[in-house]
Symmetry: C2
Subunit: 192 residues, 2 copies
Amino acid sequence: MELLEERIRRDGIVREGNILKVDNFLNHQLDIDLFEELGAEFARRFADAPVTKILTIEASGIAIASITARYFHVPVLFAKKAQSVNLDGTLYATKVESFTHKRVYDVIVSARFLTADDHVLIIDDFLANGCAALGLVDLVEQAGATIEGIGIAVEKGFQKGGQELRDRGYRVESLAIVESMDAATGEIVFRH
Amino acid sequence: MELLEERIRRDGIVREGNILKVDNFLNHQLDIDLFEELGAEFARRFADAPVTKILTIEASGIAIASITARYFHVPVLFAKKAQSVNLDGTLYATKVESFTHKRVYDVIVSARFLTADDHVLIIDDFLANGCAALGLVDLVEQAGATIEGIGIAVEKGFQKGGQELRDRGYRVESLAIVESMDAATGEIVFRH
């Protein structure tokens, strides 16, 4: 998506260690007018999917999921990072490793809000090694719900997450895929 | 706001210990069509305020802040719960005690995104003892920015947060104020 690629080129900052900082419009300060364009694009790409619910993970996925949900008129469910998990049948839980924080979180959703009748669109702001998305896939599968697809704002195409999800047969739509980036020059190359 | 009060009466669950569970539409599963109505109401109530930025706190404030920002066409900034804080002048930090989790978090925003020129509308889903809102107020004051007001979806009027913020001179607009609630009968009374 040209609009998003331009914005990443203009405002993204490449750092050593495969870090792409986009915190001035995507995951700390949020450009909601841009998010509306991204949401509309997800709606176009998944127009044929009978989505009943959008699933994301706290915290930075919530805004893009919420704006996208406007176009589908379905609820958003966000998976929560839990302090402790008491598996009493009222929730689904999985473990997600954070690339940024170098730790493993328990992540939960209430079983009341994800059922076998649901057709789920997973939305997140970033896809890198795929841990968050795979955790969300696991939660949907525990509920016996159907995954209609996975919509990502920015995918780091040189990390394994996108390939792994596509190899498992999921429909992944990333609005911008970074093919390579160079911390020395700041150059960012996109996959088309 | 009648629409929100009706929804709380219908779907809210009152538990012992002053707990009001609204996780099926407000802070776990999110009814985005309802959020649009809440956002429009915030826009009406703060129509005279020259808002340049909406500030909220992760995680459950992000969705309502993002939908509300659509009406103001301003960015959202969400304060993050930090693992560790390194005060090097690039961020503002404060401490927030969580009523739900019974612990104290360090909460930060990048100083790049909050400046003395900003006119800030603070938005959150819930106001009870006011710790989160007071933390956000502290961050805005550190930046030397102007607080235009505080917009809350659900205020528990029998806890001290709303009074304390109003006593300090802030304009607080809560879309539903719970005057009292009864865990035994499930009855919820609203303030008008």
